[in-house]
């Protein structure tokens, strides 16, 4: 059985199509990533799956339950960490979690026990009895992850779990997420606009842009679509070098730009020694430098949409500004 099954799910906000008939499936135990720029429709997708907003059309099943007809069962099966903090600042960390547990039907005793465990996982025991008001951004995030675990959901929804956090805290949160998935077997669906996050964490990634999924596969396969790694190589004699490179059977494509050769190869790290072993004396050229570049999901995004995620976000901001201007008039 798949943990999540989505069929032609669509959401329109007065004319704006936020999510455009997306279809995908998340397997049990999988760590699934939704990667896309701001405004791509990630949060809207999660909110529909969490039964917080109703889809315009299409259907979806979470833990086998229909998101339209079995809302309470869906809600019981999932834990959700929202993009924006959703904590009560006037309560302590522990109180936030215990209240959550009891809202999900745990007895007070069970709740206390589970809260202790959850706080341990995210290493917040020490601060548990402080008001959330006093927490840092990273601590709030960790507390929210812990809260989503208290009722032991089969499926965890994480909406941009490391948004706005510093690199060190981000690493820490990645660690918790990996651990939950690998050790506790929790199915996780995570949205992000950081490609390295999707690359590092997700078993499979769906790249989403303007409400549509443009590609879906393992990060490895997605990057391979681009034809593998690129070795850039600087030499003194271009003509002789070109002749030599053309003879190599494993070079898939040769580009030359500003006197530097770009060789498209697979498993670039294994090809560098081979390049160095070419008898340079006989071939008549000297290698001055070699550089290996592995494609990132950013390149994949560029390949499928014609723009980088950063560019897309910039244009998104522009669009907002335009809209704001229209409002001001």
């Amino acid at each position: 059985m798949s943990a999540i099954q989505v069929e032609k799910l669509k959401k329109e906000f007065n004319g704006l199509i936020a999510v455009n008939e997306i279809t995908f499936e998340v397997k049990e135990g999988e760590l699934f990533g939704l990667l896309g720029p701001n405004g791509a429709g990630k949060t809207t997708t999660l909110n529909m799956l969490a039964t917080l907003i109703k889809p315009t059309s299409g259907q979806a099943f979470v833990a086998g339950f229909d998101i339209l007809k079995e809302r309470d069962k869906v809600r019981k099966s999932i834990g959700m960490v929202f993009q924006e903090p959703a904590l009560d600042n006037y309560l302590t960390g522990r109180e936030n979690l215990e209240f959550h547990g009891m809202m999900y039907g745990l007895s007070r005793k069970e709740a206390k026990e589970r809260v202790r465990e959850a706080l341990k996982i995210v290493e917040l025991e020490e601060f548990a009895d402080k008001l959330v008001q006093t927490y840092s951004g990273g601590m709030k995030r960790r507390l929210e992850i812990a809260r989503a675990l208290v009722h032991q959901p089969k499926i965890l929804f994480l909406d941009e779990p490391t948004l706005g956090l510093d690199a060190q805290t981000r690493r820490k949160i990645w660690e918790y997420i990996k651990k939950l998935n690998k050790e506790k077997g929790v199915t996780i669906i995570l949205t992000t606009h950081y490609m390295e996050e999707a690359d590092f964490l997700a078993d499979r990634v769906a790249i989403i842009d303007y409400g549509k999924i443009v590609a879906l596969d393992t990060p490895e396969n997605l990057k391979n679509i681009l034809g593998g790694d690129v070795i850039s190589i600087e030499v003194d004699n271009h003509q002789n070098a070109k002749k030599a490179f053309e003879k190599l059977p494993w070079v898939k494509k040769i580009n030359q730009e500003n006197g530097i050769f770009y060789l498209q190869v697979e498993k670039g790290e294994e090809k560098i020694p081979l390049l160095i072993r070419i008898d340079q004396e006989e071939a008549g050229f000297q290698i001055k430098s070699i550089n290996l570049r592995k494609p990132t999901l950013e390149d994949v995004f560029l390949h499928f949409t014609g723009r980088t995620i950063r560019e897309r976000e910039a244009s998104q901001t522009e669009r907002f500004r335009e809209r704001a201007k229209i409002h001001m008039r």
């Binding site: 969490a50 917080l52 309470d72 903090p85 959703a86 904590l87 309560l91 209240f99 009891m102 809202m103």
Partner: protein, 254 residues
């Protein structure tokens, strides 16, 4: 649409904890009624005020009014607190829980009623210190009942506003444009018979008028409008607003 008692209890408990931790806010909301009570109470002590006659002393007239004033402001604020939960994101956490919206609304209303009543009782204790006397313990018990009804009514009204407003921008406007006019129109501070006829008719549309009148009836033994009308309106008002408030809350999306 099932009622979830644990959820109601949890939301009530949350309200209590927040209440006990926010002394500055409590002082902030109690300061106005307290000023009115102290300065009007002492200021007009023993003065002849037309229309108050039957209640003998202005303080007897004033205290039920000040309690009504306390109840309306604390209750509307409590109903509107949904807006703050929305602003700070906590509403999402409540909305995604496997709990019916109606349970959430009920939990909120009970929580709000409790904190509102505690604040009204604080004011009441101060009034006792100023020489206000009640006829019997039973009348105090009846007054509590009336106070609970007034509170529920205005929490419901706050919930309705919160569902319509959607963000906290309108919060201050509601506070100034609704609460103070309703207090002045209710006859909480001076006899309505002193108002021009037109304003008097408007005051009959003010639910707080009947609340304050009912409180006078049970605490001082006298009211100006027919008792049955006061009690009936005081009873009907919360039924309407709580129902509508829960209905709007149920329908609201994030």
């Amino acid at each position: 649409m099932e009622i979830n008692l644990t959820a109601i209890y949890i939301l009530w408990l949350r309200e209590m904890k927040r209440f006990l931790r926010s002394w500055s806010r409590i002082v902030g909301t109690l300061i106005m009624p307290l000023f009115f009570l102290i300065f009007l109470g002492f200021g007009f002590k023993g003065a002849f005020i037309p229309g108050v006659g039957h209640t003998k002393d202005y303080i007897l007239f004033l205290v039920p009014g000040i309690i009504g004033m306390t109840l309306i402001s604390t209750s509307i604020i409590s109903g509107l607190s949904v807006l703050w939960d929305r602003e700070f994101g906590f509403l999402k956490e409540i909305m995604v829980a496997p709990v019916s919206r109606i349970s959430i609304a009920i939990g909120r209303i009970f929580g709000g009623m409790t904190t509102s009543l505690i604040q009204a009782i604080l004011i009441f204790l101060i009034a006792l210190g100023m020489g206000f006397k009640i006829p019997s313990f039973f009348s105090f018990f009846l007054a509590l009942l009336v106070m609970a009804l007034i509170s529920a009514g205005f929490i419901g009204l706050g919930l309705i506003f919160a569902s319509i407003l959607k963000d906290i921008q309108g919060f201050g406007i509601i506070m100034q444009l609704i609460i103070m006019p309703l207090v002045f129109l209710s006859g909480a501070l001076f006899p309505l018979s002193n108002l021009p006829r037109f304003l008097r008719y408007v005051s009959y549309l003010d639910p707080l008028t009947y609340g304050v009148e009912s409180l006078r009836r049970v605490l001082v033994g006298h009211c100006f409008l027919p008792s049955w009308l006061n009690f009936f309106a005081t009873f009907l008002f919360p039924i309407i607003t709580v129902f509508l408030g829960a209905f709007f809350f149920e329908k609201s999306e994030l």
